[in-house]
Symmetry: none
Subunit: 279 residues, 2 copies
């Protein structure tokens, strides 16, 4: 099946346009995974999920039978500006209805299940979702309720289980944290795919030229000769080398070299009573 | 200097043992990065940070000047069982004090800064921290307050800036989410390394501690104040920040810091006629 034959899921046209323009140069934004919260208990957590989603460039939120009334003021407060994700959230009565239009569904769990289903980590999940989306498929991620996660019936509907390799003695993530981890890996997968990319722009602040560095070295060493710091002849070469190594490692820019020379000048001149000039 | 000469940071002995046994087979648990929250505003967020840390196997929490009283009941409630992290949290009056014993400090920010400091993503940060810990160095991650992140003076003290490649139009993470992302990459780095090779041998010449760096900064700035280099009050903060950034970027070792202080001392004293001593 080719991508063009699959209609994108319904979106408000203006918002979808914004998404494509600001967030996704490769046009797969409209097919980014849907985040499906199954029986979320607290509006505040739904809001935090919306924020984490938008952090990762995800905008399609689906809610299966949330416990609190929807729309929800506490969700809006916790979303910290990700209102758009909440405004477009779609409500479904069952998991089955929420995933009906999807081609690939991954179920997130904190503990292993006795189910013969592939278990993958968030990075592998992101790669698999990215491949699917690239092939024009619609993808969704299931997250269970805060208190006990997904029930086995919901997990059974998924193509694979996603489990983050966290501390086995303390692996239960806050709901929005779980969304963030998978969303973050999704975003990296999108960026990596786009990164067969043009070279980075020229540095605004390139390192000093070697001539500038040489001028700095000679200025410093001249002053140190005068003050006696380098007066032990047999130690002088190694001390000079060490100072040059250190200054080179800092990779100062041209303006930074000039600052350092100002520092040397002021330090060296500062002790001459009443002989201070403006820098 | 070999790693064995560096005393580990103070830990409750039983807890360190627990850490090593339950969470880290390779014995680097005791040197896992410290999470340093600078002026956190809400106890609840500190609790959520503790939970996210323990999810990722991190246990060393440091608090710089939290706004609410400490210990804090809302933190305990939000930690959802990660009480141990809260119980062991250490309080510090300043960022400088909180990083004094560390060799590598990374500052997390949501927006780019006009500071010439390397900017790396969480994955690169985890790799760098893991290498440093493997070489016997002590590492910390700075996180700013919820409302506006780290100020530039704190960022200037760090060796690099960590920025997650999130949606540029909506990149501000909840505090605990930011901790989770870096902690998650740390955990993956630990697990990946466990699947591969032993850690590199300890570095012969580890970077100076932040306390040594602080001593260097204060010595230099004191002399520059005396000589008038920093006398324009409105320019002083930015000049100090630029010098600190430059010196931090050089990653001087402890002996190199002592050399630089000798340089400053000799430059500053050198103009006093007939008053020269041996270094």
């Amino acid at each position: 099946m080719c991508a063009a034959t699959i209609p994108p899921p319904p979106r408000k046209p203006g918002v979808a346009g914004t998404d494509a323009a600001s967030e996704d140069q490769k046009g797969i934004g409209a097919l980014a995974p849907a985040v499906i919260l199954v029986e979320p208990q607290l509006g505040e957590n739904i809001g935090m999920v919306a924020r984490a989603m938008l952090n990762c460039g995800l905008t399609r939120l689906r809610l299966v039978n949330p416990r609190e009334a929807w729309p929800n003021d506490k969700a809006v407060a916790a979303a910290a500006g990700a209102d758009r994700v909440l405004d477009e959230a779609a409500l479904f009565p069952t998991v089955g209805a929420a995933i009906a239009d999807l081609h690939l569904v991954l179920a997130t769990t904190a503990r292993s299940r006795t189910m013969s289903k592939p278990v993958i980590d968030p990075r592998a999940a992101a790669a698999r979702m990215h491949d699917a989306v690239g092939a024009g498929r619609r993808v969704g991620l299931l997250f269970g309720k805060e208190s006990k996660g997904l029930d086995n019936d919901a997990v059974a509907l998924a193509d694979a289980i996603v489990m983050a390799p966290l501390n086995p003695a303390f692996s239960s993530l806050n709901l929005a944290m779980a969304v963030l981890l998978v969303g973050y890996e999704w975003r990296l997968a999108v960026l990596d795919a786009g990164a067969a990319a043009p070279p980075p722009p020229p540095d605004d602040d390139p390192p000093a030229t070697k001539a500038e560095m040489q001028g700095l070295f000679e200025h410093l060493e001249g002053e140190l000769d005068r003050t006696g710091f380098l007066r032990v002849a047999e130690k002088r070469p190694i001390m000079v080398r060490n100072l040059r190594t250190l200054l080179t490692r800092a990779q100062p820019s041209g303006p930074e070299v000039r600052t350092l020379r100002g520092v040397i000048k002021y330090l060296a001149a500062g002790r001459r009573a009443g002989d201070r000039e403006a820098p």
